[in-house]
């Protein structure tokens, strides 16, 4: 088990085949990293989606409470309905 190259220079050159060897290893690494990144990104999107889902539920709840309050004072009935619609 010895280091097979005389110098770092020689290691990078790979006996003249440096371009092909490093291209193969580099692209493989990139492909793996891309898939890893995509998997992690999907998870982040899911977290965002669930947060949006919760926020939406809360907005609906609030709008409902508000509309209940406002229907008691019947003056702004139309406006509250619009709000529910928007939520």
């Amino acid at each position: 088990m010895t280091f097979q190259f005389e110098s770092w220079q020689a290691f990078w050159q790979m006996g003249g085949y440096g371009f092909y060897v490093w291209l193969a290893f580099g692209v493989s690494l990139l492909a793996v990293l891309a898939l890893v990144y995509e998997s992690i990104w999907t998870k982040q999107q899911l977290i965002k989606a669930v947060n949006a889902q919760i926020a939406r539920k809360q907005r609906i709840k609030q709008a409902k409470m508000q509309s209940n309050k406002q229907t008691e004072s019947t003056t702004e009935h139309d406006k509250s309905e619009q709000e529910v619609g928007r939520a």
Binding site: F3, M14, A24, F25, V27, V36, S39, I47, I54
Partner: protein
């Protein structure tokens, strides 16, 4: 005998199992791939015939083996899902598919990059490269069939049929391509014999093979987790886990 497996058909327990397994797979794959690649690149002796370009073998062969292995794993998951009607199994199948496609791409690309200095061209219709190409098409077919359906339960079933058709066909394709290749042996291409590999070359190869298997495992587990969460995003357990993990 297989009763202990049954709880894992439920998505929540499958998720928990994935969660405990993932770090082990991920870190061991990083470790083994690092050791194997470093050993292969710097410490394994160069091939007497092909020189240092031979070092591409340390990713080409593991990825080629794993591309076939992942396809069989996918087909097994499809079969299990179809016979026992397990939704999680379909999800596992679709979690493995892109990982296998990536492995096939790596096998193809490294094959081309190895072929350029050895054969003088990036692409030859060599038997192994050709069947890898067909394998990539089979993967893409399964994935795009799955994506074409809106109803993901239906999509899983349809994709599993295609995966099984592919797995029955794969040996036929493999041998037919090999036979076709010997039939049309080009005059200009001198076929390189596989070097009978010395043990100091074999060790890093085996380590990388193990590392690549662990990598396929880790990525598939991660994607299965995502798939479980995505499909059940309206269920309380999924919401709870996602909130917990967004805070952490």
């Amino acid at each position: 005998m297989w009763k202990w497996l049954h709880p894992y058909a439920k998505s929540e327990s499958a998720y928990q199992l994935c969660k405990t397994l993932l770090p082990w797979f991920a870190w061991s794959s990083v470790l083994t791939l690092f050791v194997g690649t470093l050993w292969g690149l710097a410490f394994a002796p160069a091939d007497y015939q092909q020189g240092d370009s031979f070092r591409i073998i340390y990713i080409h062969v593991p990825s080629a083996i794993l591309s076939m292995g992942a396809y069989s794993a996918m087909a097994i998951a499809a079969f299990v899902g179809m016979v026992w009607q397990i939704r999680t199994s379909y999800m596992a199948m679709m979690a493995i598919a892109p990982v296998g496609a990536m492995m096939t791409f790596i096998a193809l690309f490294t094959g081309a990059a190895w072929g350029k200095p050895m054969w003088g061209t990036w692409w030859v219709w060599d038997a192994r490269l050709t069947s890898e190409l067909v394998l990539l098409f089979l993967y893409l077919g399964v994935i795009s069939l799955y994506k074409a359906f809106d109803d993901k339960v239906q999509a899983g079933k349809a994709a599993s049929v295609m995966a099984l058709v592919g797995v029955i066909n794969l040996p036929i394709i493999h041998y037919s391509v090999e036979w076709w290749n010997t039939l049309h042996q080009g005059a200009t291409i001198s076929k390189f014999e596989r070097p009978s590999i010395a043990s100091e070359m074999l060790w890093p190869l085996l380590i990388n093979l193990l590392g690549a298997s662990l990598l396929v495992g880790a990525l598939s587990i991660k994607r299965l987790q995502n798939e479980l969460l995505r499909r059940e995003i309206h269920r309380p357990w999924a919401v709870k886990t996602l909130i917990k993990e967004s805070k952490a």
